[in-house]
């Protein structure tokens, strides 16, 4: 019998996908959230995690930006 699951399809570049997998492995968001790793640019993840994931990603990207670090 065919299986159906609701979730969110993430399309990103391979490097970013790797970051998401790292977040998943290290359980930085409290739990695992990737349902399936599809291909180099696609992931299928839990819907509930999205707001948390977005803010985490925002934070990580900010830390990596030298310009904003200079201002601090």
């Amino acid at each position: 019998m065919v299986n159906v699951k609701k979730g969110v399809l993430v399309t990103s570049d391979p490097a970013f996908r790797q970051l998401l997998i790292h977040l998943d492995d290290s359980r930085q968001l409290g739990s695992k959230f990737i349902i399936r790793e599809l291909d180099d640019t696609h992931l299928f993840i839990e819907k509930e995690i999205v707001p948390m994931l977005e803010s985490k990603v925002e934070q990580i990207m900010e830390n990596m930006n030298p310009e904003t670090n200079d201002n601090k």
Partner: protein, 460 residues
Amino acid sequence: MTGAASKYSCLFLDFLITIPPNQRQRMLQKPSCAFFIYRMLPPIAQQVTIQLIWKGSFPQADDVEVTRQIEDQVKLLEELGVVHRQSDGKLAIDHDYKRSYMYAAMLGAASISSLVLETNEEKRRGKEVEKKAVERWDCILRYLALPSEENTQAVSETTRNLFKMANFTSGDSRIEITTSGFQFLLLSPVKQMWTYVIEYLKLEMSQGHDIVEVIEPLIQIVLLANRGYKAEKECYQIDPSWTGPQQELLNHLRELGVIFIRKRKDGVFFLTQLLTHLATNETIDDTSAEKVSNGKVIVETNFRVYAYTSSLLQLAIIALFTEMTYRFQDMSVGMITRESVRGALQHGITAAQIISFLRANAHPQCIATSGPVNCLPITVADQIRLWEDERRRMDLKDSYIYSNFESDEEFNGVCDYAKERKILLWADYQRKLVIVNEEGHEYVRQWYKQQKSKGGSDGR
């Protein structure tokens, strides 16, 4: 969303699709409305309509690409109720529409309207029509851009309500501008005016008023722009028999600066230049608007912005995405920085909106030396887009994943069906996985039901 997200890139047509069919049919019966709808249609849809009216059919295209374009536009016509698909699959023009369009075409755009022209004898009545019209429109924008006591009093209660209902402003005592409000400010004047008018019509509709009663005089006034106008010399009588909502419409148009009424008791109104904004098809507006710009903004390759204006409104809009550094009497200087642009992006303004705003308001000298596109240095435009892109490293779509298919046929069936319906987001043939978008789930369920009833005995 305002403007940018418009389905057929014409706000008027988009709105028309949403009104109840019986009201729309009544609109199609009015010659002026039929004619105006034709005007606002995209070119291919116009062709199709004309061919259907005169020949009852239209030629097929050989090209696949062109055929798809035609199909899209036929779909638009169907949604508008101008064209019906008959039971045998052939297309036919709506009878009411055909009759009223022919009637209007014979008379010509300006003569369909029942408004009475009057030569202005008294100079006083139409003094400085143009100047005052532009002032009115600025007042409205200023109210949005710079909420303050003074600016609030300059606009009418109805406009304030309108912006609130349209979700451009929020808060009761202290007004705050919302994301859609910001986006509204960055739109081209044509789009702004249409957005305002459409929001007004929506408001009327939500109050249960008869929408046709209001749209008809609106269209009649807009069509008058065709006759050309001699500012300060010609005016039109206000019919005292007009109903409450129709009078209310006049008030709104007056507030917009589209028409000018010095005093209500004059009983006449003047057309102003701003009316052309409503008479143009907005789909072709974007490029033409840039050509006639009298902008005052210079952007240098080092991200410095010089705005040669003292208009608080312009400065307020520029300050949405620029860090202002110096302010002089008639000139201000700012910097476009990562932070300032990100601030704007977080408000929901898009990079494309910022870029098109800067281009549309470029200083004539920049346009003369670098052309209408490069008047904003490419480096700056690209950087603004990059700043937007870095916020969008991932694209998220709500979807459903299907796995564990029992057979290749089942997998291929779902896959092809999803492709056909354009609901397929992703598929893997090796692992037999299919992902469809959110509304696609319902379709796939229907597909399974169909399969079941078709081959109920094949053991699935």
